[in-house]
Amino acid sequence: MIHVDRLAKSFHDKKRGIVHALEHVSFDVKPREIFGLLGPNGAGKTTCLRLLATILKPTDGTAEVGGADILKSPEAVRRQIGFLSGDMGIPARLTPREVLSFFGKLNGLEGDRLRLRIDEMVETFEMAEFAHTKTDKLSTGMKQKVAIARTVLHDPPILILDEPSSGLDVPTARLIENYMLRAKESGKCILFSTHVMEEAEYLCDRIGVVHQGKLRALGTMQELRELTGKHRLREIFLDLLEIGQRAEGART
């Protein structure tokens, strides 16, 4: 479903000059799989997800999402994905139902089909109590529910989620985790980034660790344990970052 081939992104920064946000990263995500992208802040996770969602254009390499090339057919890519940005991005003056209606229309839903899907989302993400309240009056957890509902409203086969449980309380995070597991069971391909190690350990079939724009390691939990000799993901992650730092130091 997702095939990433030597994907790279550089941009010019007034203070830092040329910044290599992502350096020739390659990986695949299959249907019925949850793939977690881990990395410290500024590692290149969000850039990678934005490239796959065709919000940004790569400077080198390419990727196929649902069989469509991100450079040649960006609109075909966007028709197959549900993208959750790290900032939630909910229009403050609209109610959750209005937000869902807007994004449903952008994704080609209309009439009864749209209404039914909105009702379904309101029920799935327990939003009935605040479905008619403007989103600027909602708590972070409520907003994130709206954001997730908006992402999956049109039932896309591929989900690209940037930190879906960021800043959430445990019950809301659990609600979203359960949704991701159900989506996986239904055959969806899920690529997500997170800083929460327990969540990645619990949800992911495979994990990729990104650091300074490079993919440092990739594999199942078992494979990563064998690679580092560590057991907990937190230790594995820190170990991989240290190896990465040393490699960079040796190179420079």
Binding site: L84, K105, L106
Partner: protein, 391 residues
Amino acid sequence: MNLKISAAVYQKEMLEVFRDRRTMISMVVVPLLAIPLLFSLINGFMSSREKEAQGEALSVGVLGDDKLPTVIQSLKAAGFQPVVKADLRAAVEKKEVAAAVEETDDATTGEKLLNVYIDRTRQASEIAGDKIQTAIEKLKTDTVRASLRGSGLPEKILTPFTTKSVNVASEKKMSGLVFGSALGYVVILLMFTGAMYPAIDMTAGEKERRTLEAVLASPAGRNEIVLGKIAATATAAFITALLTLGSMAYSFRFSPQAATAQETFHMAPPDMGSLALALVTVIPTAIVAASLMVAIALFAKSYKEGMSYLTPIVMLAAFPAVVGMLPGLELTPALALIPIFNVCQLIKEIFLGEFSRVAYAVAFGANLVYAAVGYFVAARIFKSESVLFRV
């Protein structure tokens, strides 16, 4: 191009526009309340100043009751109150009297010379000066007439003919002159102000609130998103124009001061046909304003920054609008190509009832072209990563 997507973006933006307090103030409250209030204040101020000036204009300075007794008598008969002052020029300058009269000898001819001191910067002094001239003219005529009676000549030789100026302009045209000259400027200025807040909110505001990314990741194309945003901003600009024209027409037609204003300027209230045509005329300019503002506001990363980018644009737009207010300018086909100026001029000519169809077609067509160019420029900017993700 999927117009259903643009329609969805438009619908969502309009919902946000109607729920944004800043936009509602500039788009609805200012035209609906400020225009009638301004009209009422100006009218009230002018009539109270007029009354005040009329009262003040009755004081006239003289050197003494025994000096120029016949002149003083005539001035009294005309309603003046003579006030004795030692330095007449200083008394007028210090506003102690509205005007003053003094008799001197002409150094060259040796004839009696009647000096009327006035201060042309003061309305009361101007009025007093005119009234004194009229009273003295009457005194002069009466004096000559009395002399003629003894000579046996007929009094008619004093007035071989009289003059009367006849205004051939209809009340509608007079209305057009007063209404149309200022209206184009006011409509353009308020339209740009009305478009400013929605344009910032839909671009820099969305960047600041981080709501744009999710829309960009949807199947919506950038061209379709921009079209929806420009259409919503243009609607806001058009609503501002509609309410401005409507509230000005209401003020001239139904407000308590309307009758006084119509009488003062000898004009009829603006007719509905001209108002409707003026509204059609501003449509392409509303789109130009929207495209320009959306394109520029896209460069800003915050609402505040957007304000600092667009405020000078509103001022720049006011410049050709001010030129359009100048009297004596006519809209030739060449001048009809100048954006903003052409609309102001057309509005004026529509209310005067004498616009040229050729100039109208050229101006309307040119503004449509500018609107299309504006849209393509905005769409191009909207595709730029460095603009959208400027942090």
